[in-house]
Symmetry: C2
Subunit: 173 residues, 2 copies
Amino acid sequence: MRYGIAIFPSKLLQDKINSYRKRYDPHYALIPPHITIKDPFEADEAELKEIISYIERVAAEAEPVKIDITKVSSFYPVNNVIYLKVEENSALSALHDQLYSGPLEHEQPYNFVPHLTLGQKFSDEEHSDVLERLKMLDIRHSETIDRFQLLYQLENGSWTVYETFRLKGGSRD
Amino acid sequence: MRYGIAIFPSKLLQDKINSYRKRYDPHYALIPPHITIKDPFEADEAELKEIISYIERVAAEAEPVKIDITKVSSFYPVNNVIYLKVEENSALSALHDQLYSGPLEHEQPYNFVPHLTLGQKFSDEEHSDVLERLKMLDIRHSETIDRFQLLYQLENGSWTVYETFRLKGGSRD
């Protein structure tokens, strides 16, 4: 099966993001607004067991992560994805790195640029129009992330949550 | 926020069900195929904390649940919902009852009829056509459920997973 690891931000932020995704993101119906912390990878059942034990250990040690969103940005010219940029964040990067280690050591298709997609698959012209418009919005927002999700992909392209991992470092919970 | 509790069956079964939902279920994009074990309810943050502790205790004691699907059925004439019937199942009913007790004591809008929706919002004519056709399929299937999900609803009607609970009864895991 094809798995991925993602963070769902607060409902407040998801609702805000969905108000743009509804118009601009063809993947709107496939998964809620999210920060991808590990790109899709294949695993079988035996591997999955080891992977889950490993992620549990990672989550047990990692502390909740504060994220700061300060602006709208784009991956253009690599691709026409417009997103909310999550500021440089060593805690999030450390989590990402751990989710590419041990039984999760996979090649990384991209550098890790934490983001929340607002829209994608734009034509070049539409991309520059929408980006210019969205860049004028005041979208500053901060929140603390205390969990992340392991998901698998269905045949229709949508994602189902398999397991929730709480960032428990520093607590006795 | 508005919460609900549901079981996602195996990917195999979800893919099968989605092949029908795609055509017949207007809620197709809002949530993966699921068995609702507690209907939507409102809770605030303080209540949520107590609710989660309670569900953790329930899940720690409950054993994985075997489910058997034997036929396609309908809630007609109450409403035009066509579904895969999950056979009478005392373990599942016990779980449902616990999720309507303690801090989760809410009025039950319906009797508990565990099911996986294939389609809904049919006209009467379409309902009887589709039901007749689907009833001829051999959809027998059994599997064991080892987890369930607490979800919350976004403004667009879709559901995001907040927490996964594993049915751990009988194990030391």
